[in-house]
Symmetry: C2
Subunit: 94 residues, 2 copies
């Protein structure tokens, strides 16, 4: 398919921003409620593992959007994981 490079750039950046906004919202919600008990830690661990591989993939195919999204996503997931660990320890049973 023949497509304008600018369109691809906008698409890649917007897709990346959406995914990062999702994780930021999860961080905000967790911070507000001080609860992340229902969030599976394996969700973060598996997606982080996948992101590391996507990162390598992105470096090899030299795709800056794959690299950027996965690198920032990885950082945000580590934050959620750390918050979860902390909140789960102090959590009231529900």
């Amino acid at each position: 398919m023949e497509v304008d490079g600018t369109f691809l750039t906008i698409l890649g950046i917007t897709a990346g921003i959406f995914i990062l906004m999702g994780w930021i919202e999860q961080i905000y919600k967790g911070y507000k409620t001080k609860r992340l008990k229902d969030v599976s830690k394996f969700l973060m661990i598996f997606i982080a593992a996948g992101s590391i591989l996507w990162l390598i993939y992105g470096i090899i195919v030299d795709d800056v959007f794959i690299i950027g999204t996965n690198m920032s996503g990885l950082i945000l997931m580590i934050i959620v994981l750390g918050m979860k660990k902390r909140y789960d320890m102090h959590a009231k049973p529900s």
Copy 2:
């Protein structure tokens, strides 16, 4: 970087499988506990929106791994979102 296509294939497939395993684990955990209250619905909505754009991106750059991961991820996220909606309605206050 010059890399074997087989390596890229394995990398792409493994990365995709990890990400899907993460969502499947979240579905399993949610199903078991019947609770998804701490999971931000915007996490799913934003990541789903991002996945749709990645899907378009994948179709344009003709990358089967981007297409596959995002299409299956999208389906799994819709399942989690549906489960959350149902469980949140019947949830006991905590």
